[in-house]
Symmetry: C2
Subunit: 419 residues, 2 copies
């Protein structure tokens, strides 16, 4: 039978919104990759009564309880005391840990250990001690009538270190299954359209499962399999991936890739090509997405943000009569921008975006959401003309960028260029 | 008596650790600034039984329940159905909302509305409808025996929009006092330094309160006052703002402004100047941040992303001997990039960034984190040389961008250019 885990984060700073509960996210990722179901996250403040309530609840609906926070030296750090009360355990002082904390203070902080830090050396009887190499508060774990309780410190860096060093090995011994996921990345179809295509399939599936996660203009499909071994899970997943890919066709741009720009960068690498960008309404977003990728300089030369029409002429060299005759937001200008940025940078491939991101029409009265993507290649120059509708500026800019990368990746992989 | 709120986030993607629960953080910030106590965050998956359990628990320990997520069009979106069952309310279909969603599809997405979207137009009887201007799923609120239930969509930008537009006004009516906040924005000092300067003040203050929110390289100080009227709250805040500003000096770049680039844009407007950018390691992030601001074309002409050294020479016209003698990451190159981008774009002001974002040293062995900011102005050209240390690529790129905007805003407002 699969384990059920509940994550309890302790800290008033979470309830005040000073920080997000990223610890719960990291723990959840680790637990699901161990095949442990996480059914609940709970956040309580530094309050013994409510923490006690959360623990009592958790022990009745989960067999693994992981707490983060409340292990500090101050009076409002109550996790160990409260959990010991709930499980009827004594706290015992570990002089060797006191000595270690004292030494750490003198070594790293060059100051004597404040006496209240002694509380950090008190741990439940008969627990497994999680030594903390990056902080003063040790964590611990114990098992009581089939319920495993793990306590980890709150500071994210300490939590992560203790998770990898202690919690994951402890939990691996408990879990019999592994969980493996595949992310099928798509561009060009809305979530509800994709759901309509896959709904029957998704409802029938129990293991592997298939779920959709939508961002504006992009839908990720995650197939998740639970099995005795990674190999077995992989074997269960590959037919799902091929089925879905067959069903959705070339809107699937990759599996387990992080975004359209990553597919473009590897496509350019494989073809031994370099790229330059010419951006108007996306205002540097193509460049920024490309340069977020380490080592992209192997395939990306740079580009021009020709926000003013005059820059399109002066820096890129778009012919003035093209701009006069058709305007800055037009197919001829998009084509010229892509060809010109190749000329000025020496790149064999150039992609351009010109459009109206709003909130107002452009000076020629072109509507918000009208976008032209240009793509200059050794095979010739192509254009995708789009009416993305009157949406929020940042969504339009991001969507236009996705279309630019989609046009490029389609050319790189020899697919039909149109959606 | 003060209200007690519980935030329930619905979504299996949270329990799998695919995303962090940033919605709970934003809601908590808003609630605490309204003087509403948040005692619990709960996260459940797309599971009717566990969501029902969470709702039953919440209604017994809180008088405000806010849910995020589960309002989508797909079969696993269960929030409205489950809450209506818990509170014994019917769901009623609103044909006008169906029409609105249908129109939105045709207008913005140029595709017919999938029929399963009709579910999004079903809302509890006698609820206040939260119209969703940035998505298809409307939210809603109702009150049942003193318990207020608010349902908001899950996608963070939709949640934020609905929070500001609907939830905050709704909740403000419940709380007897008016809460007003001022955000004091700073750049150039770490959170712990600022807290060391302000600790005594912050600890003594109860109303107004003063809290710090840190991002890498930027610290926001929020002063919050609770009073009978907005005017009274404003009156309580202005001395706090002046005190803090006096204490921190010119690291305060604005009050209630959204970021350094906004201060730069208004400074350029006031001075009647236009700007161009030349970016190497920031790879288009300056341009992207500027072009995120509507109407920025009044002051921003565009720029060059000179990622390859050759582009610095060919497109910007940085002298080859400067590049050979000092390298691409050097003060002379940063100065030349800023001056050259003014020349090629005709802008009177140019800002440049060249540096090593990592993960590896550059070909000349310059360390990760070494960054030079250039600023060309009618008063002459300036440079800020930085060693930002070996940090994560995205943090370095963002930090370098903030330094570029800080140098510019200091010049625009006649402040000392160095931190």
């Amino acid at each position: 039978m699969a384990h059920i885990a509940e994550i309890i984060a302790v800290g008033t700073e979470l309830l005040l919104g000073n920080i997000a509960n990223t610890n719960a996210q990291e723990l959840s990722q680790a637990l699901s990759s161990l095949g442990i179901n996480v059914y609940w996250h709970t956040v309580v403040g530094d309050n013994a009564g409510r923490l006690r309530e959360a623990v009592e609840r958790a022990r009745n609906r989960a067999d693994i309880i992981i707490t983060t926070g409340g292990l500090g030296p101050t009076y409002d750090d109550l996790t160990k005391q409260t959990i010991c009360r709930a499980f009827g355990r004594e706290l015992v002082l570990h002089p060797d840990i006191v000595a270690r904390i004292r030494a750490r203070y003198e070594r790293n902080l060059h100051s004597p250990m404040p006496e209240n830090n002694v509380r950090q050396a008190e741990l439940p009887v008969d627990c497994i001690i999680f030594d903390n190499p990056v902080g003063t508060a040790p964590g611990c774990a114990f098992e009581e009538n089939g319920v495993h309780v793990l306590m980890l410190p709150g500071p994210p860096f300490e939590m992560r270190t203790m998770l990898e060093r202690w919690a994951i090995p402890y939990l691996r011994r408990l879990s019999e299954a592994v969980i493996v996921s595949r992310d099928i990345m798509t561009f060009g179809m809305g979530e509800s359209q994709i759901e309509a295509l896959l709904r029957d399939k998704m409802e029938r599936m129990t293991n592997p499962t298939l779920a959709t996660y939508a961002k504006p203009s992009e839908v990720r499909l995650r197939a998740t399999a639970k099995a005795a071994s990674a190999e077995a899970a992989e074997a269960m997943l590959s037919p799902v991936v091929s089925d879905v890919t067959a069903l959705l066709g070339d809107i699937v741009y990759g599996v387990d890739v992080r975004g359209l720009e990553y597919v473009c960068v590897s496509g350019l690498r494989e073809r031994g090509l370099t790229l330059a960008t010419a951006e108007s309404c996306t205002g540097g977003r193509l460049a920024a997405r490309l340069t977020a990728i380490p080592g992209v300089s192997a395939v990306y030369r740079g580009g021009v943000v020709s926000y003013w029409t005059q820059i399109k002429a002066d820096v890129l060299g778009v012919p003035a009569d093209t701009l006069d005759a058709y305007g800055a937001v037009s197919e001829p200008t998009a084509r010229a921008m892509a060809e010109c940025v190749c000329r000025v940078t020496g790149a064999p491939v150039g992609v351009s975006v010109t459009g109206v991101a709003g909130p107002d029409r452009d000076e020629r009265g072109v509507d918000v959401g009208i976008v032209y993507i240009g793509l200059a290649t050794p095979d010739g120059t192509f254009c995708r003309a789009l009416d993305l509708g009157n949406r929020r500026r940042d969504i339009l800019q991001n969507l236009a960028g996705n279309h630019a990368f989609d046009l490029l990746r389609r050319w790189l992989s020899g697919l039909p260029l149109e959606l």
